[in-house]
């Protein structure tokens, strides 16, 4: 398991500067010991892609959730201790398990809070999407923007027509 607080990147030696078999081995070694970072970054990028590139508002929310889950995994992986047990008081320890340490409970607690926050954000987001669907009849970002634009144009055209009519009335008087 990766050690918390260890160097994120392999030491930059001369081998790392020139891409070659040695640098490749370095990257592999980094992956072998720090695969939790690789996984969380990969998940985060998938989520980020969904948030930025998808036009469907619900899919954006799913992407956001993926992003948050990636962060949860990152936190939990930094709290992991090799061979440790779940951080809940273990009263009936069997013989031979006296020396087993607990995992770091702090990241777990933090993520419990973060999950609640994430659920609240998702709830608000979905409620907004429901209301948007009622107001616009679609959940597609492009269609919503186009609909807004059409409305603005119609409004400004109406205002101009009114002004022109008022001017004409003023000219007659």
């Amino acid at each position: 398991m990766p050690d918390a607080g260890g160097p994120l990147l392999p030491p930059a030696g001369p081998a790392a500067a020139v891409p070659g078999p040695a640098a490749f081995a370095d990257v592999l070694g980094w992956l072998a010991t720090h695969y939790n970072y690789a996984i969380y970054i990969l998940l985060m990028m998938i989520g980020l892609y969904a948030v930025l590139a998808k036009g469907n508002l619900v899919k954006k929310v799913i992407g956001l959730n993926l992003l948050q889950t990636a962060v949860f995994l990152f936190y939990l992986s930094i709290g992991k201790i090799d061979g440790a047990t779940a951080p809940v008081v273990w009263t009936d320890r069997p013989p031979g398990a006296e020396g087993v340490p607990y995992e770091n409970p702090v990241p777990h607690v933090l993520m419990l809070t973060a999950i609640v926050v994430g659920v609240s954000v998702t709830a608000v987001a979905l409620a907004l999407v429901v209301r948007i669907r009622e107001a616009y009849g679609t959940v597609d970002e492009g269609e919503i923007l186009a609909s807004d634009e059409a409305q603005e144009e119609a409004e400004s055209a109406r205002a101009e027509a009114q002004e022109a009519a008022a001017d004409a009335a003023g000219a007659r008087e």
Binding site: T85, A86, V88, W90, P94, A97
Partner: protein, 96 residues
């Protein structure tokens, strides 16, 4: 004993892999739903096995129980979605 438990875990994980194929390829929505549901059932067993492996079955079983409940409600929710589309005569399968 731990060896047998670990072997069981491996077998179940293999089963999950096989089921994942069914989730991804389909072909029908119902296939996917059933496959996901079976994966859920396997997860419950997996949780229990991990509990015994860790030597602390007591609260891993609690988690397994809660998971079973959520799995049940979740499956019903997905099937209700399916039922609603069938009732309204909307297409249920994704077009290829």
């Amino acid at each position: 004993m731990p060896v047998a438990l670990a072997a069981a875990v491996v077998v179940i994980l293999l089963g999950v892999l096989v089921l994942l194929r069914r989730v991804i390829v389909g072909p029908r929505l119902l296939d996917r739903v059933v496959a996901v549901n079976v994966i859920g059932t396997k997860t419950i067993i997996l949780l229990a096995l991990v509990g015994y492996l860790a030597g602390r079955p007591g609260f891993f079983l609690d988690i397994a129980l809660s998971y079973a409940l959520i799995n049940f409600v979740g499956t019903i929710a997905v099937l209700r979605y399916y039922e609603g589309r069938v009732r309204r005569g909307e297409p249920v399968e994704e077009e290829a």
